[in-house]
Symmetry: C2
Subunit: 279 residues, 2 copies
């Protein structure tokens, strides 16, 4: 993958927490860390696409991942440059060749979903049926526990300030490859998608972890990245469950410490590597 195209990008991470004063129930004034949140407007070839509210930890990956998950850009090869400028709260994406039909693709964006009103739904269900996830991969309980432990060590903003969601992309053998926190779980997953494109990472044997709930949109995005394993600390919704079953993703919810609930795709989950499959 060393020969893959890499866009030129800035590395413009913002300060992630700020301190403000709050008064607690004992009347004490406490310096309290809160999570950053700032608008970031994405432009593609000078055309305004969207304004996201973000923590600002990985703005370049977020912009690319947003364009990827909204299917406004079809391949990282289309992107020449990604320049974040916090002074103007903007990220300028320059393509190598003007994207044809960008206007039409933008019309297809639907304000929907999961967090209530997130993004992309429309004709995604049709796409979902065309996705086949790898069946020759397995995750063990031991790997799951190691992942949960690693996530705990990564969560810096959440631990100090709360009010953020974290997402991780992990390799069953090598641990966490990327960990992103953001004020919204949609942004966190988009940033992971962007990072995968930037680093040329194939999702087909990876684990996607999120602190957020497993709604329809989360399952759809994981499937679009061809990731067969989806793990969450939180619960799931009916549509998240139904889509996960339909696409055959291995989905685990309520995963904290040594507890978890395995909902779908049970065939890829094993108690121990070498053991017989669970179900």
């Amino acid at each position: 993958m060393s020969t893959a195209h890499r866009p030129r990008i800035t590395r413009a991470s913002r300060p992630l927490t700020f301190e403000v004063e709050a008064i607690n129930e004992r009347g004490e004034a406490l310096a309290t860390p809160i999570a950053g949140e700032t608008p970031l407007t994405i432009y593609v070839d000078k055309r305004e696409i969207v304004t996201l509210m973000t923590l600002g930890q990985a703005p370049e990956a977020l912009a690319i991942g947003y364009l990827r998950n909204q299917r406004l850009v079809r391949s990282v090869d289309e992107i020449a440059e990604v320049q974040v400028d916090w002074e103007t709260a903007s990220v300028a994406v320059t393509t190598r060749r003007a994207i044809r039909g960008l206007k039409e693709r933008m019309k297809k964006r639907t304000v929907t979903t999961g967090c209530g009103q997130g993004t992309v739904f429309g004709d995604l269900m049709e796409e979902i049926d065309a996705i086949t996830l790898r069946e020759d991969v397995a995750m063990s309980e031991e790997t799951l526990y190691a992942l949960l432990d690693a996530v705990r060590r990564h969560e810096s903003i959440y631990r100090s300030a709360g009010a953020v969601h974290g997402c991780a992309l992990a390799n069953p053998r090598a641990g966490i490859l990327t960990f992103v926190e953001d004020v919204g779980r949609h942004n966190a997953v988009d940033a992971i998608a962007g990072r995968m494109w930037l680093d040329g990472i194939d999702g087909s044997d990876k684990i996607f972890y999120t602190t957020g709930r497993l709604t329809s949109e989360m399952v759809i995005k994981s499937a679009q990245m061809r990731i067969p394993f989806l793990v969450s600390r939180s619960g799931l919704t009916q549509m998240g469950y139904e889509i996960a079953k339909r696409v055959g993703i291995t989905m685990i919810g309520r995963a904290v410490n040594k507890h978890y609930l395995l909902f779908t795709g049970k065939r890829r989950f094993v108690k121990r590597i070498g053991a017989t499959l669970l179900a």
Copy 2:
């Protein structure tokens, strides 16, 4: 308020939880309740507006509140009828007189914010500066504790299935007026806004409670409803804090049991009614 216009509405609440089988860490198959999630497409005078993913507890109020918070409809008086049909997963809103400039208003919707990519931001900041919240109202610590206790008793879906956010509108003297749970905190706050219009409730002396994080969008929506008190179980973000300070809302975060952090608008919060103000 008995003379106020009331639209004709259906009362089409859906089943809110479903049971699926999950396997836990001890290998036991458990019947596990999960939260409902279903698409609901809003039409205004047969024009498609948006598809939301919702729990479906209060679809009529959600539709009206979405149109209100997106400022697509300016007054409940404009609405003649709200008809939910789960067979087609749609809600048909009929106006009394065709809304002028609906197309232009729709263009102003921005996909943004808080949950990552929620809704409405654009020129909202200008509007915020025009808002004045009442200063002749106060909330006591006792009222706050009573509210937290009442919320705990209301949270039915959250308790059984998780994966939902709850919002409540409360009267400092009379307790909770409306409690809505939904798969997204944006939907829950929109449903409260719709309910306020339907029931002719004025927000200017009310408390808005949310289980969700206090991001910019939550503070903006509360201010738009003229609500002076905003309480959350969760934390807050930098922009949520800055907007709350700017508009002078009394904002309390991390409110659980007998704990809380008072961040802004301290002048309206008192230890006991009759006591001197805290700050």
